[in-house]
Amino acid sequence: MTGLLERPPGRLAGRTPVRLGPFSGVWRPRVIAVTLTGLALLVLVAAVNIGRGDFPISLAEVLAVLVGGGDEAQQFIVLELRLPRTLTGILVGAALGLSGAITQAIARNPLASPDILGVTAGASATAAAVIVLGGGNGVITGLLSAAGLPVAALLGGLFTAALVYALSFRRGIEGYRLVLVGVGVGAVAMAITSWLLVVAEVYQAAQATVWLTGSLNARGWEHVVPVGFALVVLVPVALLLAFVLGGLQFGDDTARGLGLNLNRSRGALILVAVALAAVATASAGPIAFVALVVPQICQRLVGSSRPPLLASAVHGALLTVGADLIARTALGTELPVGIVTAVLGAPYLLHLLARRNRGVTA
């Protein structure tokens, strides 16, 4: 571009640089503020969630236990019961928020969620099969229940997503075909689920319904470790891949003109989003609306053109743990967290709708 210059370039409004050696980026104070505020709230809500319950523990005592103090009962309740449950909620919520943010950015559609690939439906059918047929006669269900419910659900979710992808592959992937095939495969999985609910004993059906609503009841360290491990691997991959998201938001021709390999970048991002959603669903069941609503909220808080990834992860965790706190303590009985996220998320979706309508007519 040298030679074009007529006057020295000034700083660009709204794009203050941050540079350090070979690293450079744009200083976005609102992104940082939203992320940090979310993080602070998350710590607070998580601490309250650990403290509240049949056996109340004060915030100070919770902190004392976490750094190695507290009496034996407190240690047991915090470290063996409430901390792993809360951590599962944090990790699952973060995975869902991140997965939703990636999917919505690629699909350029605020209503897209990883569910369109059948992850949730597949995981649900498999989980229902394990609960209802559990250890039963069939070879496959026997193997799946031996592997444990979360692993079985994970495999079911990933298998279904792979099936949808494979069935919609025909000289490349077309978004439209992918969605329609996803609907078809999802319908089969849901039919299997409802059949299982009908043939089950009532107590099994109740157990399956709890799982199908999304719940953090009785989640222990065995749930924390796999999700944690998955996030340690997938979050950095997602943040690296996020570099191409800006280009992918344009139409296909513009993105290709910018030197993006569309199939490869989209494929990799979808894979990450599906893996995150599958891991989250396997651990806590399909928790409604987190993947759908959180990225939209964060995009508005930050004021950007696409959902911010890290902020979506943090706020996904915040919403999930906050909803679990309400689910555990609000009504006396313990509700599945998915009911609370749906009751909180649905009105927000309606609010978005009303605002968008006004925007159109204004």
Partner: protein
């Protein structure tokens, strides 16, 4: 397909003859499609009367319908299989027509009547009926389900019409998603609170035409009839809307009125269907695609073809469900997904679904 949609009104313009020939061929094909579907429906209905835990030969079926003598087979046919078959036909037609209307109004090939919150609303009130009022008969569910379906779709319309833009397909779909999710969550909360409710609800929620008697048919028939009438009235207007709202308005079509008539028809049809049989998915989504590939996008042909194809599919799925795990039965909702989905996927893979 697109070139063959020349309407008779276009015949006076120069250069029409080629299009006219195409239009004649299309008209003949549409007639054949309707006749073919009627024949298929007759076969499916006979199968539905004859096949079951106890197979009954066709001559006996014939005698039982027209010369009832009170034999055991005759009673099975008249009191069990006939209402079930009639209901299957009615509900299949309703779902097929409602699906075609829904896709026409939203111009979205993925739109399903369930999007308006109908199924979720019906489910919620059925659960309330079971939980709070102790209703446990299929006969009793019908009114709860119908009321829930109507209430939910009214709520969706109101929320979808917020702001001055009035209801648009997109806002309706969004409102439908939100309302459905909310009601589904509340339904789950109720069934989890009470095992007996769950036990009764899960059999309703799977979607079935089994165990319905003539009373159920009579209960929902008026709503089905009214819905079909409104759908028929709606077809020409919908054809204009397919050209875009501005063009429809320019051609003198009252757009909002057309939308409301269509929405009321969809609500009546799906509400009656879900009241009678529980939530049955897939018919409303898949059948219009198949019908559209046979008749083209003209709703005056698409709606009847879609209704007939819906009835054929529903009856066929019901018969298959009776044969597959005899002497037990697989509910029609499950069979529909298991049989319909692979077919649907094959259709999607073969080509883009005919455009709307």
């Amino acid at each position: 397909m697109t070139t063959a949609t020349a309407t008779p009104a276009g015949a006076g313009l120069p250069g029409a003859p080629a299009g006219q020939r195409g239009a004649v061929a299309l008209r003949r094909r549409r007639r054949l499609v309707i006749l073919g579907l009627l024949a298929l429906l007759a076969v499916a209905a006979l199968a539905s009367l004859a096949v079951g835990a106890k197979p009954i030969p066709l001559p006996v079926v014939w005698d039982a319908i027209f010369f009832p003598t009170g034999t055991e087979d005759g009673i099975v046919v008249r009191s069990l299989r006939m209402p079930r078959t009639v209901l299957g036909i009615g509900v299949g037609i309703a779902l097929g027509v409602a699906g075609a209307l829904m896709q026409g109004h939203t111009r979205n090939p993925l739109a399903d009547p369930g999007l308006l919150g109908v199924s979720a609303g019906a489910a919620f009130l059925v659960v309330i009926g079971i939980y709070a009022l102790g209703v446990t008969s299929l006969f009793g569910y019908v009114w709860f389900a119908f009321a829930g379906a109507l209430a939910a779709s009214v709520l969706v319309f109101v929320l979808g019409s917020l702001g001055r833009g009035g209801p648009t397909p997109v806002t309706l779909a969004l409102a439908g998603v939100a309302v459905s999710a909310l009601l589904t969550a509340l339904t789950s909360a109720l069934v989890l609170a009470d095992t007996n409710t769950l036990d009764a609800f899960r059999f309703w929620a799977v979607g079935s035409v089994a165990g319905r008697d003539a009373g159920t048919v009579v209960q929902v028939a008026p709503f089905l009839g009214l819905g079909l009438l409104l759908a028929a009235v709606n077809a020409p207007g919908l054809n204009l809307l397919a050209l875009g709202e501005d063009i429809a308005r320019g051609l003198g079509q009252p757009v909002q009125l057309t939308r409301w008539v269509g929405l009321i028809a969809i609500t009546l049809l799906t509400g009656a269907a879900v009241a009678a049989c529980g939530p049955i998915g897939f018919v409303g989504l898949v059948v219009p695609h198949v019908a559209r590939s046979l008749t083209g996008p003209d709703h005056r042909w698409l709606l009847p073809a879609s209704g007939l194809a819906g009835a054929v599919l529903l009856l066929a799925a019901d018969v298959i469900g009776r044969v597959l795990v005899r002497p037990a039965e697989l509910q029609v909702g499950i069979v529909l997904a298991l049989v319909g989905a692979p077919f649907f996927i094959a259709l999607v893979r073969r080509r883009r679904p005919a455009s709307l």
